[in-house]
Symmetry: C2
Subunit: 374 residues, 2 copies
């Protein structure tokens, strides 16, 4: 069963039960508009990654501002969003195994669905699954442009696989998935840009080889919030897949821009609201947000507007706030806003977004695809 | 919405969709029986911590074997378990804030509920909340016996707070919460034992001071899977709160016993089943289990029965298996069992347990209190 919402519409923020996942709606809306304007001006399509927010409502807001659809990372994520009304989903990932392939092809009868492949046997399986339910499945070849995770090598291997897809009766080759995930969190601006330049050379060459083989790429997809700016000048990519820009997090906030300053193109709009639940010492207090309330895999949260207070020593349900460097006392029952270390796995821990504006709860949105793992 | 179950009763394990949370039912049942026998022989009560499994069904199995009830860490966790039929719950934690106090006292009308306190103002609030719904709430004083997280200092401070509880019209002082969480993962046997010996001295002294003040401790609770053996000889603690013993994990498996060998008193019964979803290189493959499928906060999972294969480089939805040190090839679609680094936050990511025996799915149990954060 999903958990009850931790607030009611109209509540003061201070009255939200904790831990809770807050969205600062003003900052969030500015983030959505900024990326929409950027991609429009750059002449590229935006297909935001829904693995960040897992919300049908946020996907709709993105599409109302011009996004062509969304990316999902899992079939179950796509199922949840399609069922909630999203009609254009790219699964930017491989789908392997009988049950998942059955679900994928069934879903393609209910929405525009595309998928990535990096293996010839998997292409055979995709074709068979699509044939069984009578759909033509759109397939992108994923190429490894430096992330070292999934994808065939750029160049000839990609052309070979694209030809397999093109020959398959129930599949349609629609382009390339060329995401350099490892580049997103390179802190230095020049190094980050260089990683994307290298990916660009590999992607461009692959597109040209495909073209020479008579295979047109309708879509060349990639880019994340850390590198989106570098993906437009070359005109190699035509569809950006940024996700985290809607919320931002501590991790992305540590990237540096060309002037050496921290990356602040988008605002922190996502917070975990937590309560001081124990205060028996002078130098620290304990709050009610630990590993089950925060994605700490890329580092600990920042304490919003209390810069001298640091979060540490999380256990499953507790975190410590070090008060030794601050004059601001926190007392039992006080609430603090944490900027999550990593937004995507944090969101996945909650059933509800609590949208706030001017100190009041304005929206309660379900995390539609929370826990969609398969 | 909860996710659909990733299997059907009777399926072969290989046919379970992934990632999935498997229980090896034979190993699991042996773990339950072993701890039940240990506590029975030692003459102490067992109140296992349900924050590990979050399952009403597993709680019932534990109580059928003699456990007096369960511990929960959150009011919402207790609500979910009480609603599913568990009638005796200790919230081994502080409950702070108007809404949580209302929920706690309402819950106490429907089950035997106790809670911990470490603050005099909180005791006033607990008393008021209990009075509003007309219940007498059982309250333990939490003392900090070395964990440095919650709890008043042992000794006089605990007596002072216990007196406040005893004076409160709607509260009943029932004992001490004396959990040394920081000791659980001290690797060296002698050091781990020493930490509990220190906690024991502090707890014993506090019990004696309380007794001298006319305050009897019905319950002196504490202990975890890492230290349970050290809590019985002294007869200071009378209620053990171990949780992880039902499943074990990589983290507990790294503790050492008195002979220097790894801690293996309980068996690994919990696994994340994952699938090889990309295999484009010789030296590694990519599986479909990353941060959203595994609690990696205490370290990465082990790959079960493939000792030379190591898990690394997790991202949100992917993990890498290094194959460079093994002759065992893994191919696309192969399934592997991972022993989670940390069982509690791993369980919280899933809606379903898939109980397996003799290679077949025998049980599908909901993770009753999954996501119960507040």
């Amino acid at each position: 069963m999903p958990q009850p919402a931790p607030a009611r519409i109209g509540d003061a923020v201070e009255d939200v039960d904790t831990p809770a996942l807050l969205i600062d709606l003003d900052a969030f809306e500015r983030n959505l508009e900024k990326m929409a304007a950027f991609t429009k001006n750059a002449g590229v399509r935006l297909r935001p990654h829904a693995k960040t927010h897992k919300s049908a409502h946020i996907a709709r807001l993105q599409m109302e501002l011009g996004a062509v659809g969304v990316c999902c990372q899992k079939v179950s994520e796509a199922e949840a969003l399609v069922q909630a009304g999203i009609q254009d989903v790219l699964i930017s990932n491989q789908v392997v195994g009988r049950h998942k392939l059955n679900r994928l092809s069934a879903l393609a009868r209910h929405a525009k669905v595309a998928v990535c492949a990096d293996d010839a046997d998997n292409v055979v399986d995709l074709n068979a699954a699509a044939g069984q339910v009578g759909v033509i499945m759109d397939v992108l070849v994923e190429i490894d442009v430096g992330a070292g995770r999934c994808g065939v090598a750029p160049g000839d291997a990609a052309v070979t696989l694209a030809k397999e897809i093109d020959r398959a009766r129930n599949l349609r080759f629609v382009g390339l998935q060329a995401y350099q995930g490892a580049a997103q969190h390179i802190r230095d601006f020049a190094e980050r840009k260089m990683a994307i330049n290298a990916a660009q050379v590999l992607t461009k060459k692959t597109v040209e080889l495909l073209s020479a083989a008579g295979l047109k790429c309708d879509t060349v997809g990639g880019a994340g919030t850390g590198t989106y700016e570098f993906h437009t000048t070359s005109k190699v990519w035509n569809e950006l897949q940024c996700g985290s820009y809607v919320f931002m997090d501590v991790d992305y906030g540590q990237n540096r821009m060309s002037d050496g300053k921290p990356f602040r193109a988008f605002e922190n709009s996502l917070f975990v609201l937590a309560t001081v639940m124990s205060k028996t010492r002078e130098d620290f207090c304990t709050i009610d947000a630990g590993h089950k309330a925060l994605g700490n895999d890329q580092g600990f949260p920042w304490v919003h507007e209390l810069e001298e207070v640091t979060y540490s020593k999380p256990s499953d349900e507790h975190g410590r706030l070090d008060l030794s460097q601050t004059r601001q006392a926190l007392k039992l029952g006080d609430k603090v806003r944490l900027v999550p270390g990593h937004c995507d796995p944090t969101v996945n821990l909650y059933d509800w977004y609590v949208g706030v504006r001017n100190g009041r709860v304005e929206a309660l949105w379900p995390v539609t695809a929370r826990g969609a793992l398969t």
